[in-house]
């Protein structure tokens, strides 16, 4: 809710906003933000989904190709303010990939970034415009978000898992 107000402070034309979720964690978050904005401003931004897998910079080194996820961009991004929405931001490489992907869809007027959890450990010169919570972590730890299922009002719980459970939760992790 606080992030929604911050978005309103910086952008007065909600109808021209375009929330672009990065799957999978960004999707419920973008829905919550869109619902909040409609409640506050009585106007709803466009919501899209953009998979960054085909733009990753580590495809050379991965033996098994990562699974592709949904991309659904319902309208053009030209001359609109695009807000990229991700749940956990760490190295910034996913945001870089998302920006490159976005540019293939057109020329947005401006791009802003929401990260629900900022872990630090940036490897690229990328800063977040809206941060839900700064969570200092060590690079090896895994951050798991519980309750990020799109139901507005569900309190989000940030769980920092130590390094040794990395294997177990690799399947449903939402970091990087």
């Amino acid at each position: 809710m606080r992030i929604s107000h911050e978005i309103l402070e910086r952008n007065d034309d909600i109808a021209s906003l375009y929330l672009v979720a990065i799957p999978n964690g960004g999707i419920p978050l973008a829905r919550i933000l869109a619902a909040n904005l409609r409640q506050i401003a009585d106007e709803e931004p466009t919501v899209g989904v953009l998979d960054t897998t085909l733009y990753r910079d580590d495809l050379t080194s991965t033996a098994e190709r990562p699974k592709l996820r949904l991309t659904e961009m319902p309208s053009a991004v030209d001359d609109r303010t695009v807000i990229l929405v991700d749940d956990v931001v760490k190295s910034g490489r996913t945001i870089r990939a998302a920006m490159d992907a976005l540019m293939d869809f057109g020329r947005p007027k401006m791009v802003q970034v929401v990260g629900l959890v900022d872990r630090g450990h940036r490897e690229l010169p990328i800063k977040l415009d809206y941060v839900g919570k700064n969570v200092p972590t060590s690079p090896e730890e895994i951050v798991q978000l519980n309750g990020n299922d799109g139901r507005s009002g569900t309190p989000l719980e940030v769980v920092i898992l130590p390094e040794d459970v990395r294997e177990e939760c690799a399947a449903n992790r939402s970091s990087t």
Binding site: L54, T62, T71, D100, D104, F105
Partner: protein, 314 residues
């Protein structure tokens, strides 16, 4: 999970086939963009090595490679100068020394892509070898049916025509049976392979019986040069007995779709109107062909070299 080469559907597990179909489903979205290109295979080289003439399949692989930003090189040696298998392998080795990240091979003799794969460092994708397999064609057919029907499991798929000489039929028989469909084949008796039942299909002798209850009807191309071998008396007789038109299609389910790997001999395998309009989905098959080949290139090209040793060929 997915192996180094793609030689045939026979070698794939159900889960691997589904992985390729799911990946292709996502690739379709890229083809719908204004900028139809993603940087995924930037700096990778894909060689189309086509010993047998082909325009459609080669162009489909070429567009797929380019949409993934790979450099695509087409090499179509005149097959007359390459009759001996030694020289085919030499050609392949020469290409391999130029370090491609994937080689797509088509040859009129069954087994050549496998032989080439055994001597190459690069992964090999079979784009059709003799009457053996044409895996990407079967994959695009599976994708098209899955989109149309929402599933493969439990469907009845009838393949009509020259089953004996058709790599498309073989690959589709493996693909559809692995994904849980019932596959039927029908055609003039000389065009039905002996013991084809061992592949898990049902053989029919009349089109009417074969079509009854079918969800999908797949007509195969009749190759005139093979008809000259007197398998059937004449094109006209084939068309009258096994050519599909709207009247004969009534034997199948009301919502049955019609497929053809192309190019269609209009008025022979399919009537004119059936070639152009629903329920035929021929152009969807072509569109899905690009998506399937993008998925195959994404999954097979330019992965770090596996530990598998390079064979020494012959």
């Amino acid at each position: 999970m997915i192996g180094r080469d793609l030689i045939g559907i026979e070698d794939l597990e159900r889960s691997e086939i589904e992985r390729i179909l799911d990946t292709a489903e996502r690739m379709r979205e890229v083809g719908g963009r204004v900028v139809k290109k993603v940087p995924t295979l930037r700096g990778r080289t894909v060689v189309n090595l086509f010993f047998e003439a082909s325009t459609r399949t080669r162009v489909s692989f070429e567009i797929a490679g380019k949409r993934l930003s790979a450099d695509v090189v087409n090499f179509s040696p005149a097959s007359s100068s390459l009759k001996k298998s030694e020289s085919i392998l030499d050609t392949a080795r020469t290409l391999d020394a130029m370090d491609p990240d994937l080689v797509v091979v088509r040859h009129e003799v069954a087994g050549v892509p496998k032989r080439i794969a055994d001597v190459l460092a690069a992964p090999v994708v079979n784009a059709g070898d003799g009457a053996h397999e044409h895996p990407t064609q079967a994959l695009l057919d599976l994708l098209t049916v899955r989109q149309e029907k929402g599933r493969i499991d439990g469907l009845t798929v009838t393949i009509v025509g020259d089953i004996l000489h058709s790599r498309v039929a073989r690959s589709n028989i493996f693909g559809f049976t692995k994904l849980g469909a019932e596959v039927r084949v029908v055609g003039p008796p000389p065009m039905i392979p002996m013991n084809v039942e061992t592949l898990g299909v049902k053989v029919f002798t009349t089109l009417r019986d074969a079509l009854a209850g079918s969800d999908v009807v797949m007509a195969l191309r009749i190759q005139n040069e093979r008809l000259a071998g007197a398998s059937v008396p004449s094109i006209r007789e084939y068309s009258a007995t096994f050519g599909l038109d709207r009247a004969k299609l009534h034997y199948a389910k009301d919502d049955a779709i019609v497929m053809h790997p192309g190019p269609v001999n209009r008025g022979v395998e399919l009537s004119h109107d059936l070639t152009d309009d629903r329920p035929s989905v021929i152009l969807d098959q072509v569109r899905n062909g690009v998506a399937i080949r993008m998925a195959v290139l994404y999954l097979f090209a330019g992965r770090p070299p596996s530990q598998s040793a390079l064979g020494e060929g012959s």
